[in-house]
C-alpha cells in the first residue's frame, strides 16, 4: 500500500515522497 507523505503527515510532509508498506494478509481482498 502506497501513501503519500502528505497523507501520513499532513502539511508537514515532504513533497515528492511516498511510503510503501507491505500489508498483505491472505484474508484481505483488493478494493476494486
Amino acid at each position: 500500500v502506497r501513501f503519500t507523505s502528505h497523507e501520513l503527515w499532513g502539511e508537514g510532509g515532504e513533497a515528492g515522497q511516498t511510503i510503501n508498506v507491505d500489508l498483505w494478509e491472505r484474508y484481505l481482498e483488493e478494493d476494486r
Binding site: 515532504e14 511516498t18 511510503i19 507491505d22
Partner: protein, 209 residues
C-alpha cells in the same frame, strides 16, 4: 559471535582464541549462554560453527553487488529481477532465511528508493548480510519515513527536489533491495569490475553511485 575456529580442545568442541582485550559484556554473555547450551546438549557446536561461517564467508553485500552488476549488464536478467526478485536472486545462488520474499526496486533519474524497517531491523540477509548499526537506530527508522530527503542529505546524499523518494518499509516477510543506477563512464567495465563499484549503502538507498 566470533572465535569458532576448530574442535581441537575436545571438551566443548570450541576453542576461543586468545584475545588481547577482555570480552565486552555482550560477548561475555553470549559466550556464557553458549557454554551452558553446549554443556546441556541443547546446541550442536558444529551446526553453530556452520552458521557463523555462513555469516563470515557467504553472506554480505558482495552478494547483492553481484546481483546489481548482473542486472546492469543483462537486460533480461534485470527484467526478471524486477519482476520476481526472489527467483532472480536465486539464479545467482543467493536465498534462504530473511530473503524468502525479495522485492527489488529500481532507481532512475526521476525516482530514488530508500529501504527502512520502521518496526525493528528487517533486512535482506542473503544479499546484504547483517544490517549496519545505524539501520537499527530509532533515528534512522523514524526519520526515513518522516523526512527522508533531509536524512539522506545529512548522510551525504543530496537529491534534487524534483526527484521523487519512495520509501519501502520492510516487514517480517518482505525484504527490499535497491537496484542503483549504473554510474556513468562504466561502459567498458566487466561484470566483476562493476560489482566492485556497488556499495552496501547504495543497495539500501542511502547512497547514489
Amino acid at each position: 559471535v566470533t572465535g569458532h575456529s576448530d574442535h581441537a580442545n575436545g571438551e566443548t568442541g570450541h576453542d576461543h582464541p586468545h584475545r588481547a582485550e577482555p570480552l565486552a559484556p555482550v560477548e561475555a554473555r553470549v559466550a556464557a549462554i553458549e557454554a551452558v547450551l553446549v554443556e546441556r546438549g541443547m546446541l550442536d557446536t558444529e551446526q553453530l560453527d556452520g552458521i557463523v561461517s555462513e555469516f563470515e564467508h557467504n553472506l554480505g553485500p558482495l552478494n547483492g553487488a553481484k546481483v546489481v552488476a548482473r542486472a546492469w549488464v543483462d537486460p533480461n536478467y534485470r527484467a526478471r529481477l524486477l519482476e520476481d526478485g526472489t527467483a532472480a536472486i536465486g539464479e545467482l545462488g543467493f536465498g534462504g532465511p530473511e530473503g524468502d520474499h525479495m522485492v527489488v526496486v529500481e532507481n532512475t533519474p526521476e525516482v530514488h528508493n530508500l529501504v527502512v524497517c520502521t518496526l525493528c531491523s528487517c533486512y535482506p540477509w542473503p544479499t546484504l548480510g547483517l544490517p549496519p548499526k545505524w539501520y537499527k537506530a530509532p533515528a534512522y527508522r523514524s526519520r526515513a519515513v518522516r523526512e527522508p530527503r533531509i536524512l539522506l542529505a545529512e548522510m551525504g546524499t543530496s537529491l534534487p527536489d524534483d526527484v521523487e523518494i519512495r520509501v519501502w518499509d520492510s516487514s517480517a516477510e518482505v525484504r527490499y533491495l535497491v537496484l542503483p543506477e549504473r554510474p556513468a563512464g562504466t561502459e567498458g567495465l566487466s561484470e566483476e569490475e562493476l560489482a566492485a563499484r556497488v556499495t552496501r549503502d547504495s543497495m539500501i538507498g542511502v547512497e547514489r553511485l
